[in-house]
Symmetry: C2
Subunit: 215 residues, 2 copies
């Protein structure tokens, strides 16, 4: 499958590498066509890896992974262009973390809105599915790094898109438990979980943990 990664950070690198390992063709998009971090990623990931602008990556792909910072996502998606995104599934992994006040980060948007909803409003024809934003990037693509049972969440308005993303999570990435929270407004719940995540991270001094919903 042809897949696009928006963003050249840790999340984009981890997701992109996993998709390549699975045999897909992956284009990493950034603001410029020759971004150095994207070039390194391409070099490390072989002939099925390529790079380009946000627009190049979006145009290339059947499914697009938003791995930009939540604070930069709308701008990145505007650069990707509505025509290149239209009607596609956008897997939104971003969190609106604001490090400008120091550690721990706060959120630039929360409570009555979320990045997931912002993106869906800005691009009404894109099938936005929020997921994976509650775990570290290594756990995203290798959930067995955390022992035992634990959950990942789904938020989105399009049932067929969520069904496809559930397949990506379970069959491609190895997730055993995926909880569909409901429409895209439920992204508020998972994005607002981040302040608890960062405190747990500070406590454990390691990022490979997650939560299991017990009932």
């Amino acid at each position: 499958m042809k897949l696009g990664i928006l963003g050249t950070g840790m999340v984009g690198n981890a997701i992109g590498a996993k998709l390549i390992q699975l045999g897909h063709e992956v284009k990493m998009g950034s603001r410029t066509p020759s971004n150095e971090k994207a070039a390194e990623w391409v070099k490390a990931n072989g002939p099925k890896a390529s790079q380009g602008t946000f627009a190049d990556a979006a145009a290339f792909s059947e499914i697009i992974f938003n791995c930009t910072a939540g604070t930069a996502s709308i701008e990145a998606l505007k650069q990707a262009g509505e025509r290149n995104l239209q009607s596609k599934i956008l897997i939104d992994i971003s969190n609106p973390l604001d490090f400008s006040r120091g550690m721990p980060p706060t959120l630039t948007i929360c409570n009555t809105d979320s990045v997931g909803e912002q993106i869906q409003r800005a691009f009404p024809n894109v099938k936005v599915v929020k997921t994976l934003n509650t775990v570290n990037c290594n756990v995203m693509v290798n959930p067995s790094l955390v022992p035992g049972d634990h959950d990942v969440f789904l938020s989105g308005n399009d049932a067929a898109a969520k069904s496809k993303v559930r397949e990506v999570l379970t069959q491609w990435f190895g997730w055993k438990s995926v909880i569909d929270l409901g429409d895209i407004s439920t992204a508020r719940g998972t994005e607002m979980y981040l302040p608890l995540w960062v405190r747990l991270y500070a406590l454990f001094q390691k990022p490979n943990f997650n939560i299991k919903v017990v009932k």
Copy 2:
């Protein structure tokens, strides 16, 4: 032990009833000395149960449970009076849920502050320990309602107070796993988990669930 409950809602009723069952003397405080809901609770809970104003309940108690709505807590504690609260442990179970926009509720305070921190700032000599606000009131005092392992969190600035509250949670209420997140600012994490909790509640259609941190 002499214990105080601030608030006459579901949380106050559940915590108060459990404390009576454990053999303690419990005074439920509210805005007026003869509040009807407090009177019903007293009637249902026998001779060791009593009622009074917020100030009466605070003056009576060695440990005080804040079971008021997070949106009303500061005002209730002002009525309880600094002199009656001073140097005591205040177990803060409140959440700043705002139902005025309809369901699901939003928070009146979050991200850069929390009710726990607000209370600690307003009453610097009180030993505020935030806990139990991440589960339904029945689970608070009977964690075995949720099968298997699951966690409750602690936030507070005073180590000795947190140690005492850990005892309350484990020895009185039956919690098996208590995670100390750190100082009172970590209450932001647990209060901001509520938007995820309310979505899980809507999904499961039952309040008896919790999370287990897996690492």
